[in-house]
Amino acid sequence: MTRNIIAIDLDSCIGCHSCAVVCKQENNVGLGTYYNKVLTVGPSGTYPDLEMYYLPVSCQHCDNPECVSVCPTGASYKREDGIVLVDHSKCIGCQYCVMACPYGVRTYDESRDKGVIEKCTLCAHLVDAGEKPACVKHCPGQARLFGDADDPESDVSKMIARKSTHKLTDVGNHPGVTYGLDKFSWKGDE
């Protein structure tokens, strides 16, 4: 079965925010709303003995998404291929999913004339058309990879096999995005 995920090679990521900006173009995301943020982790240590990496964070499309279980209307749902989406026609804007998400990647954009929850769709409209998400297509470091985690030949699987990998903190939700990082030690909780 297809299990579409994003994998990000942090050794290749240069923190340029291209993914954050192209996402705004592709998904018509309003000012102040971010499907995709790029955090700078560090520099930690004392000059000049430093470590730093960039950490793009968007919806992790968790295996066991808490946002889906707390959603009272079923507006938040997980597709067969693993993509977690919000059906805006069912969203009542109660924001419990915002509280349930460990990663702060869901935005309640009350100013957006919607009153619904917005978040990364993994560009499902492109994926359904056989394309890659916009952030993956344009990543200047080719750090962002997209593919089927269950296919050992996919870009994501190969990167995962090659590098030491990490996930954002997991409290049972099992985040789907895998981060590869060899050069520095991972500063997050495992």
Binding site: I92, A100, C101
Partner: protein, 285 residues
């Protein structure tokens, strides 16, 4: 995360509703408080109605409430059902209380008391979210329940003391209120203990924020002194003085205790939202 005021107000008001119905249920079981049943139920119902309306402000699209059946397993759906049942029971009890149907009132009153015990627990249980360790404990819904008991019972006790059966029912009412306040003190302290003990400790949700950090005033003044110590002292005082002091004066004490409890409940919930930070420390809320 930032304070969700509509939800906070809702949770305090539904606590009052719940505590009031527990009080009235005890009255039904012991044959007391008939004279405050209507006024008490009216206040309780009003609190629930107002609270419900306020909570709607939190939502972007309340008109899509029909979809709420979409995921019955979610905490919010359960909460909604509990509120609905409470509302129906409260309304029915209110209508019956106007007339004299002792059997029906008793049955509904008891049901109301049971729902009253469950409702704040269910409401608090919505916050049991693994991503926010400072919330993810049964002590949080218990704290909601305890506060509800204290506030509702103090309010009802005050009505009793102001009523024409103060002499007969006042002492019992005061004892009930004291029980409610004790429940609040115990559950509130239990919740604070949870903050200290929760896994994934982090400065943003540490006990230090309460003891000596940016929540110190809210905690020491708002929660400990005003919210817990004052109601406890006042409730104990009223218990000791029923039959000895003038009922009206005691009623004043009880209402002050209620107000203090409500203020404490607000303060503790403000703290609760404040320490409700995510387990993922890369995200700053």
């Amino acid at each position: 995360m930032e304070v969700q005021w509509p939800l906070l107000v809702f949770s305090v008001l539904l606590g009052i509703t719940s505590g009031s119905f527990v009080f009235l249920a005890v009255g039904e079981l012991t044959g007391r408080f008939k004279n405050v049943r209507f006024s008490g139920a009216l206040i309780a119902f009003a609190c629930l109605a107002v609270g419900g309306c306020v909570s709607v402000l939190h939502m972007g699209h309340p008109e899509r409430a029909t979809h709420l059946l979409g995921n019955l397993g979610s905490g919010l759906s359960k909460e909604l059902f509990a509120v609905a049942i409470m509302g129906i029971v409260a309304f029915a009890y209110l209508v019956l209380a106007k007339k004299d149907y002792p059997g029906a009132s008793k049955a509904l009153g008891v049901v109301g008391g049971v729902v009253g015990l469950v409702l704040p627990f269910v409401a608090g249980a919505s916050y049991l979210i693994a991503a926010r360790p400072a919330w993810d404990s049964v002590t949080l819904p218990l704290m909601y329940t305890g506060a509800g008991l204290a506030m509702g019972m103090l309010l009802m006790c005050g009505l009793v003391l102001l009523g024409d059966r103060a002499a007969e029912d006042g002492g019992f009412a005061a004892k009930l209120a004291l029980v409610g306040v004790v429940a609040m003190v115990v559950t509130a302290l239990a919740y604070v203990a949870w903050i200290a003990l929760a896994p994934h400790q982090d400065p943003t949700r540490s006990l230090e924020r309460l003891i000596s950090g940016d929540f110190a005033v809210a905690f020491w003044v708002g929660v400990v002194v005003v919210g817990l110590a004052a109601p406890l002292a006042l409730a104990a005082f009223v218990c000791a003085r029923t039959g000895k002091a003038r009922a009206a004066e005691l009623a004043t004490c009880v209402f002050v205790a209620f107000a203090c409890s409500a203020a404490g409940a607000v303060a503790l919930r403000v703290i609760m939202y404040g320490v409700g930070t995510s387990v993922e420390r890369f995200i700053y809320q």
